[in-house]
């Protein structure tokens, strides 16, 4: 769907409504979707805005509820992108909304200088739920900042500078975090520092050992399953071996659990499901139910020395904002329920079974399913395969995103509270979309 169609839909809405501002949101309004897209390019981000128009996904998210999104045109989408797990509990989860609404009668963001009610309560809840040994919580305002905090903590604890990460990894785009990721994002801002941030291929133990052998590495940072790379699964034993190498060469193991935590693997923390006790654990996105930004770093006492040496060592006005903490306490509680865990196992089973049935229909096109719980990467036999499927899914009312760093692979991320009938609907829509994408990719539109 190109820009013209978008304008066409915008006009349709326009002519059927007599108000001058057809989209009135109280503190602002627009006449049409076309106006939003134009102004987004003019005042906000022309590159991003145009990218989605060109990709056939001219989405401007309007209403949001449960796992549904509505484009301004009124088109409904089932959200299987979840913005990287931010909407793990659905959009505007009523329990999180209620907790926040009530809290707003009493709390604001708080003052980061002081010990605080909600920050303390969340820290206790996180430590109680976390893999053994993690005992202190440090807050950031977002995942990138939390990664920076994790890296700074590792550097302080080890008095070493090097950070090893996985090639094509994504851990955020803040000052230090950007160094752990793909060059694309550091070179753009002249922020690449290859000597301090060596990258090694995923699932390559020899490369990892090579990188650590010099004992000059402060930490290895890894997503338990790398998201933007299309969720390639760690080979059996790989993460354990990396953890062992870290111990051998005095480096800390930082588990980036932003996308693999919060019950998405069928256990609260993906790294705990692997049976690994990391030195540092980072959580973000879904931790506050998509309602108020916050991210958290969990560290062991033995690496938390800077909190005593200079408690003001990392200052962040919005880090650990108390409203975010309250949303996070509720989100963590929902994720931790035995009912939720059971449902995730059911969802994972039904989605997996349904996708394998679809795969049987298109074995040469839909060539692989990477799955751990409700974290899925669907592999297609075409270098840009996932983009075709993404576009067809969008046409068919499902929003799932291709993997930035491996566009053969579609990220397919059902929410952990998805209802059985919605799972079935998703599978119906996915079957059609995969078939259409196949015919489109193989030449000639369906």
């Amino acid at each position: 769907m190109g820009i013209d169609l978008v304008r066409f839909f915008g006009m349709l809405v326009h002519v059927t409504d007599t108000d001058s501002a057809d989209y009135d949101y109280g503190v602002f309004s627009f006449a049409s979707k076309a106006e939003v897209l134009d102004k987004a390019k003019e005042y906000w981000n022309p590159g991003k805005t145009q990218f989605w128009i060109d990709s056939g996904v001219p989405l401007v998210i309007d209403r949001r509820e449960e796992y549904y999104l509505w484009d301004m045109s009124g088109k409904r989408l089932i959200d299987l992108h979840l913005n990287g797990g931010t909407y793990n509990l659905g959009h505007r989860n009523p329990e999180v909304v209620q907790a926040l609404t009530v809290a707003m009668q009493h709390f604001d963001m708080g003052n980061h200088h002081f010990p605080a009610l909600a920050r303390t309560a969340l820290a206790e809840a996180l430590v109680t739920s976390a893999p053994a040994g993690l005992s202190k919580v440090i807050y950031g305002s977002g995942g990138g900042e939390a990664i920076d905090i994790a890296l700074k903590t590792a550097r302080h604890a080890t008095q070493k500078r090097k950070i090893v990460s996985i090639a094509k990894a994504y851990h955020g785009h803040t000052g230090l975090a950007v160094g752990t990721g793909d060059d694309r994002f550091s070179k753009l801002f002249l922020a690449d520092q290859p000597e301090e941030f060596p990258h090694v291929p995923f699932n390559d133990l020899n490369a990892m050992e090579e990188a650590l052998r010099g004992r000059d590495v402060a930490a290895v940072i890894m997503e338990t399953i790398p998201a933007t790379y299309g969720f390639p699964l760690p080979d059996p034993g790989y993460l354990h071996a990396v953890k062992k190498l870290c111990q051998e060469f005095d480096a800390l193991y930082i588990a980036d659990e932003v996308q693999t935590g919060l019950m998405r693997t069928g256990e609260l923390w993906g790294i705990a499901k692997e049976g690994i006790q990391p030195d540092i654990l980072v959580t973000g996105k879904g931790i506050s139910g998509g309602m108020y930004p916050i991210a958290c770093v969990l560290v062991r006492d033995e690496h938390a020395g800077w909190l005593t040496e200079d408690g003001f060592g990392h200052i962040s006005t919005f880090g650990g904002a108390e409203l975010g903490c309250i949303a996070a306490i509720k989100a963590l509680e929902i994720c931790s329920r035995p009912e939720t865990r059971s449902m995730v196992h059911y969802i994972a089973d039904r989605v997996g079974t349904g996708l394998r049935a679809i795969q049987a229909e298109y074995p040469d096109w839909f060539v692989g399913i990477r799955q751990n719980g409700v974290i899925l990467g669907l592999e297609f036999h075409h270098p840009q395969g996932a983009k075709y499927v993404m576009r067809q899914l969008y046409e068919n009312g499902v929003w799932a995103i291709f993997s930035t760093l491996d566009p053969r692979v579609l990220q397919f991320k059902p929410g952990i509270l998805l209802k059985p009938e919605v799972v079935d609907e998703v599978l119906d829509r996915t079957e059609v979309a995969i078939g259409r994408a196949y015919r489109e990719a193989m030449g000639g539109r369906s």
Binding site: Q105, S342, P420
Partner: protein, 516 residues
């Protein structure tokens, strides 16, 4: 926290948890609905035996927690509602298709789905067991919502059966229990659109709320059981049965006799026989003293539910013999303002003497005008004409003949379906008029061929739509590249040349996209 943030009332914490239980139950019910009969029987038997194992211990615990009833009698009911139910229905099949080739019809059983079971404090464990057994036999997921007075023992009872059922292959979450019941939580559960049926055993208010919920409901009304003894009855046997039934679990079953109606000719003999069985017949001021204790103004004081005859006599300041099992309170006329004509969940039996069997039937009707319509009645008689006249005039849906009503109408000592839930039908504003049994928790999908024979029904006998689950339900979500993960098509081998080629293309195209 609530105190500080009182402006907006927070939903009680249990309510969202309850909704999560419904969601989990829904998943469980979808899985359960595909199980085959052999697996269902294995699960039901395992749960029944688990119930039997804890029957005695939970009988004691129930009396301790609620203060109602007699532990030994509760054990009997717990056994009856676990292995007893299993033995009754072990050869029944609520799972496999039923063929009617002569009529060109095939019936395919379909479970309700998610059952919300409200259970009373009076028969806590037995009702929990009973409803779980019915749910398992019919492949339904069930959420037990116990009366708060009995929440601990009901939780234990449900957990005992749930663990055994899941160990035998039942889907995870098919038996859940609300550990901290509250009015908002019960309301939230009953009105949840994902609930398929509510089975409500309890007070009238709760039952009516179930019907108002907007969800399908099977509710039962209260009892108020008239028992008539006519001149043809075997008086000694009748007295024996009535006293035993009235004393059973201190009258806590809703089927316990409330008002004894005796034909004048038999009255003196029956009174003497009752005394021989351990009844103490109150007289004069004693009657008012007992009424004063039992009735709190215009209603039965629930503090006396399931208490013993001796405790009640003592409270009324009456000395009774040590072997007293029930108190009999004579009164002249069945009218609404006579409190002794109302339901009494304690071993006090009202008694009226009538000049004839016909007048006795009138009296029984009068009892049911007060409450208990659609429930049960008993008659001790050798005269089929009187029994038929009684059964066709009195608005109840079961008449137990020459047997104690407590266990007679409950189906334990008759061929009625054994039950802890008495359907009171249209008389009692209920959707079910029978003793609740498994068939009430399924519907049938009917495959129907034309009646004029233009298309003959093929042989469906070898077709079995249900199957045994392959393993734990749901399976543990192991990563798809681990040993034991289900796979249909293997993802390409990482060494594969094609894959390397694709990777090279990916890198190139990526570069193009990102820079272009």
């Amino acid at each position: 926290m609530t105190a500080l943030l009182a402006d907006i009332p927070l939903e009680p914490a249990g309510v969202p948890r309850g909704r999560a239980m419904v969601e989990r139950a829904q998943w469980a019910s979808l899985a359960f609905a595909t199980y085959d009969i052999e697996t269902v029987r294995r699960i039901a038997q395992a749960a029944a035996e688990a119930g039997e194992r804890v029957a005695a211990e939970l009988g004691i615990a129930a009396v301790e927690e609620t203060g109602f009833g007699v532990a030994e009698h509760k054990k009997l009911k717990n056994v009856a509602c676990s292995v007893g139910i299993w033995n009754t229905y072990r050869d029944h099949d609520y799972v496999s298709p039923v063929l009617h080739p002569d009529r060109g019809i095939v019936e395919v059983p379909r479970p309700a789905g998610v059952v919300i079971a409200l259970t009373p404090s009076t028969n806590p464990v037995a009702t929990v067991f009973f409803k779980i057994m019915l749910a398992l036999l019919t492949r339904n997921a069930i959420i037990i919502c116990p009366h708060p007075f009995a929440k601990r023992v009901c939780t234990e009872a449900a957990h005992a059966m749930a663990e055994a059922a899941v160990a035998a292959g039942a889907p995870d979450g098919c038996i859940q229990v609300v550990e901290e019941p509250s009015i908002p939580l019960v309301n939230a559960l009953m009105t949840d659109a994902r609930v398929d049926v509510i089975v409500a055993t309890g007070g009238t208010a709760m039952v009516r709320a179930a019907y108002r919920s907007g969800n399908p409901a099977i509710g039962v009304g209260p009892g108020n059981v008239p028992v008539m003894v006519d001149a043809t009855a075997d008086i000694a046997a009748a007295a024996h049965r009535i006293v035993a039934s009235k004393a059973f679990d201190n009258s806590i079953l809703c089927t316990n006799e409330s008002v004894l109606i005796v034909e004048e000719k038999a009255a003196a003999g029956l009174e003497a026989a009752l005394r021989r069985e351990g009844a103490y017949v109150l007289a004069g001021e004693e009657i008012d003293a007992v009424k004063g204790v039992m009735f709190d103004g215009t209603s039965f004081d629930t503090a006396w539910v399931g208490k013993s005859a001796k405790q009640i006599a003592e409270a009324a300041g009456i000395k009774v013999p040590a072997n007293t099992r029930i108190l009999v309170a004579p009164f002249p006329l069945v009218v609404p303002e006579e409190m002794l004509a109302h339901e009494k969940l304690c071993p006090v039996l009202g008694m009226v003497v009538v000049p004839s069997a016909a007048r006795g039937i009138d009296a029984a009707r009068a009892v049911l005008r007060i409450s208990g319509a659609g429930h049960s009645a008993a008659i001790h008689s050798e005269d089929a004409v009187t029994i038929m006249a009684f059964a066709s005039a009195v608005p109840v849906l079961r008449v137990a003949v020459n047997v104690g009503n407590s266990l007679g109408s409950a189906g334990i000592e008759t061929h009625l379906a054994p039950t802890m839930t008495i359907g009171t039908g249209f008389f009692g504003r209920s959707s079910v008029g029978e003793n609740l049994e498994p068939k009430h928790l399924i519907n049938m999908t009917r495959i129907a061929y034309p009646s004029h024979g233009s298309s003959a029904m093929p042989d469906f006998s070898a077709l079995q739509p249900w199957h045994e689950p392959a393993g734990a339900v749901p399976p543990y979500p192991i990563a798809s590249n681990m040993e034991g993960a289900p796979s249909l098509v293997r993802a390409d081998d990482p060494q594969d040349e094609l894959r390397d080629e694709i990777r090279r293309m990916v890198v190139e195209e990526l570069r193009e996209i990102l820079r272009g």
